[in-house]
């Protein structure tokens, strides 16, 4: 069994195939703090890809309310329980040493691939096949908060940071187009592949035989079975938009449908340049690279699963840290601390979210005047009215906007007009 290096775990792990990395990697950052679960992303995806017969249960993009919600129901807690059964109490991190190749320390537990060997059997990864019923209610437990511990219905004092007593948050999910996809490892027919040009993972619709091993072993449950074609389908990363082959995109890599429609401006999507050894080529002026590798405010979803997912999340500030660490790994404290009092550059990059549908490959900040002094969590913080500029793949400027949103006061004579 080949060994591959998973930088999110800070160590090598076993995987069915040896390392072979794409030139560019589809990646995205979601700011959970901004999401209000309007499901515009969900519906944009639905209206683009999964509106046909046999796809009724398919939501390649979905937004679920944590901790109770899940699509399919209980997808993550069930897998975490299996992982725990394989390696009781072992899912811990050694955070004593961090570095460029070990940004979150070193994972001491087992991945879904390693746990499959521990538990026996011949599957590549632990998993399960969700029942039809579990796919049927994609937004069940919407907006349902946890109560005070041991006192159902008693919600305590919710508005205090760092942790709310009753809490919930929205988790936006699509295929993570993983570096080491479990679906690719699971497919006995090798009908699933990862594209060299952008790392997008696709199911070959002509070769799939509907075995549903991918449905079973993808930890994020994003491949789905379709009864009208008897084969499985999954999020295609809106690849015509990424390629720039969609007529709308005028040849430029363009954000996916779910990203481009986000009214809450929580999403930023990009293509990161991958080095031969699978690491991200250093590029602090690339917005995704900056968020994940420099500011370290965006963290992978369930890194312990071991697939090296390429979706990153700015964790919600109000949620108990223990829960967040389980979901996003040990980088949570630093990410929230940085996000709470964002450095000048981070504030500029956050302004770029949803500023354009063209995928940005570079940003630059033009410095402006200081507009505010504050003390946040005992630390001095200042805000500047900088200007942030975003550039497309060709290096052309496609967006320019101020960090401080312009403020307009409606003239008195128009007070009640629309």
């Amino acid at each position: 069994m080949p060994e591959v290096y998973n930088w999110q775990l800070g160590r090598a792990m076993t995987y069915r195939f040896p390392e072979a990395h794409p030139e560019w990697q589809f990646a995205f950052v979601f700011n959970i703090n901004r999401c209000l679960a309007c499901q515009t992303c969900t519906m944009a995806c639905k209206a683009t890809w999964t509106f046909s017969e046999g796809q009724e249960h398919m939501w390649w993009n979905n937004v679920e309310t944590k901790p109770y919600g899940g699509y399919p129901r209980g997808w993550d807690s069930r897998l975490l329980a299996t992982l725990e059964a394989a390696n009781p109490g072992g899912q811990t991190w050694d955070v004593s040493r961090t570095g460029p190749r070990t940004p979150y320390g070193r994972y001491r537990g087992q991945t879904i691939f390693e746990a499959a060997r521990t538990l026996g059997g011949t599957d590549e990864a632990i998993g399960y096949l969700p029942s039809e019923d579990e796919w049927a209610a994609p937004n069940v437990w919407e907006d349902t908060a946890t109560g005070a511990k041991g006192r159902p219905g008693v919600y305590g004092r919710g508005t205090e940071l760092p942790v709310h007593t009753p809490w919930f948050f929205y988790l936006q999910r699509l295929c993570n187009h993983c570096t080491y996809p479990a679906c690719v490892a699971a497919c006995p027919r090798n009908a699933i592949y990862k594209r060299k040009e952008d790392g997008i993972v696709l199911i070959d619709q002509s070769r799939c035989r509907g075995y549903r091993k991918c449905v079973q072993q993808c930890p994020y449950k994003k491949p789905m079975y379709r009864a009208t074609t008897r084969v499985s389908e999954k999020c295609v990363g809106c690849y015509p938009r990424i390629e720039g082959s969609d007529p709308l995109t005028e040849g430029l890599p363009t954000e996916t449908r779910c990203m481009a429609v986000c009214p809450g401006k929580i999403r930023m999507q990009g293509l990161v340049k991958i080095a031969e050894d699978g690491s991200w080529e250093e590029d602090p002026e690339h917005p995704i690279y900056y968020l994940v590798k420099v500011a370290k405010v965006a963290l992978p979803l369930y890194p312990q699963f071991g697939t090296e997912p390429n979706g990153y999340y700015i964790p919600p500030r109000w949620v108990p840290r223990e829960y967040l660490v389980q979901m996003f790994g040990p980088g949570v404290d630093e990410a929230i601390e940085t996000y709470t009092a964002p450095p000048r550059e981070l504030l500029a990059v956050l302004a770029l979210f949803r500023a354009t549908r063209t995928i940005l490959f570079k940003f630059r900040v033009e410095k402006g005047p200081k507009v505010r002094d504050a003390v946040i969590d005992g630390r001095r913080w200042a805000m500047y009215d900088d200007t942030v500029i975003g550039y497309d793949r060709q290096g052309r400027e496609v967006v320019r906007l101020p960090v401080v949103e312009p403020f307009y006061e409606r003239p008195r004579k128009y007070l009640n007009s629309i």
Binding site: T122, D123, R212
Partner: protein, 330 residues
């Protein structure tokens, strides 16, 4: 007694050698393989009447001798699975077509592939592909020796019998949908648009005809060359496969009267979520396409020849011995 007769009587070793040579000659002439005949041979006797292939429970099939085949769990390639299972196989031919019936126990008949967790019961027979100069690896063949697989799927038969069973109206009779945009445009039925044989809406055979040259290479021939029909009764599946002796297409097995072929079996239990390599399998065994007419004892068609040959040798020996005595007395 002649001089030769005396020398024979005096040297029993020569007698045994001569007998062995004669027996080998007879076995070769009749095409009987001693090594193969240690294992069960599935003999497809010839029949002149119409073979009821659409009715596996027709009394006709009970007249065809059955050979028991022991299957075991597939344990050479992941995903592994299956179990120990004994199936019965029967075969006949009508001079132009081969008919092969497989019977195996299965407590539930699983005919749907409608929901994510629904898997179909299935059975497959596998032959070395035409042109194979040696017996391929029995698990899906290998790059230098491909295999021809006929796979019957209960779900496909439901499609043939009742029309495509994958519609929402079939799976959720009380469901309501107001409209599907671009309904009928196959672009949005991606498997079908990509030409995937699994996604076919109008299916004319319950049997897929496949060729493989190793694991993960299984490729379907979209032309329905093989037919088949199954019926489940009281916890037992019976499935009949039929195909003409030759189809004139590369990769497909060919038969001829008096032909020996290798044949292997595999069974999937859909209720146990078996699919792909998760199956019960048996290695290759011999299939004899016999020109002899089906009657009682058809399953041992070659043995009368073998017994006859050995009998002739013994008779010759006895004649020589008796002849020697007679001459001595004279």
């Amino acid at each position: 007694m002649s001089a030769l007769g005396r020398r024979i009587v005096a040297r029993p070793g020569i007698v045994l050698l001569a007998l062995a040579l004669a027996a080998a000659g007879v076995l070769t002439a009749t095409g009987t393989r001693l090594a193969a005949s240690q294992e069960p041979v599935l003999v497809a006797m010839r029949t002149e009447g119409e073979v009821p292939w659409r009715d596996p429970w027709d009394p006709f099939w009970n007249r065809v001798p059955a050979v028991d085949v022991a299957l075991s769990a597939q344990q050479s390639v992941p995903p592994m699975g299956g179990k120990r299972l004994t199936i019965s196989a029967r075969a006949v031919n009508d001079g132009e077509n081969l008919y092969l019936e497989v019977e195996w126990p299965d407590p539930t008949a699983d005919r749907s592939v409608g929901a994510t967790e629904d898997f179909t019961d299935a059975v497959a027979v596998q032959f070395p592909a035409s042109g194979a100069t040696r017996v391929p690896a029995f698990c899906m063949g290998d790059p230098t020796a491909s295999v021809n697989i006929w796979q019957w799927r209960a779900a496909w038969q439901a499609d043939v019998a009742r029309g495509f069973r994958g519609h929402v109206a079939d799976l959720h009779p009380n469901g309501y949908v107001d409209l599907y945009p671009f309904e009928g445009d196959e672009t949005f039925l991606t498997g079908r648009a990509a030409g995937n044989p699994f996604s076919v809406e109008r299916r004319s055979s319950a049997v897929d005809n496949l060729v493989a040259t190793g694991n993960g290479t299984l490729t379907a021939d979209p032309t329905p060359l093989v037919q088949g029909w199954g019926a489940w009764r009281d916890g037992v599946w019976r499935v009949v496969f039929t195909r003409s002796f030759t189809v004139g297409r590369e990769g497909n097995v060919s038969f001829a009267p008096d032909d020996y072929k290798d044949v292997a079996f595999a069974v999937w239990d859909g209720g146990a979520e078996e699919r792909d390599g998760m199956k019960s399998v048996a290695s290759f065994m011999a299939l004899d396409v016999s020109p002899e007419l089906l009657a009682g004892g058809a399953g041992r068609a070659l043995w009368p020849f073998a017994f006859l040959g050995i009998g002739v040798v013994w008779a010759a020996f006895a004649w020589m011995v008796l002849d020697g005595f007679r001459r001595r007395e004279a």
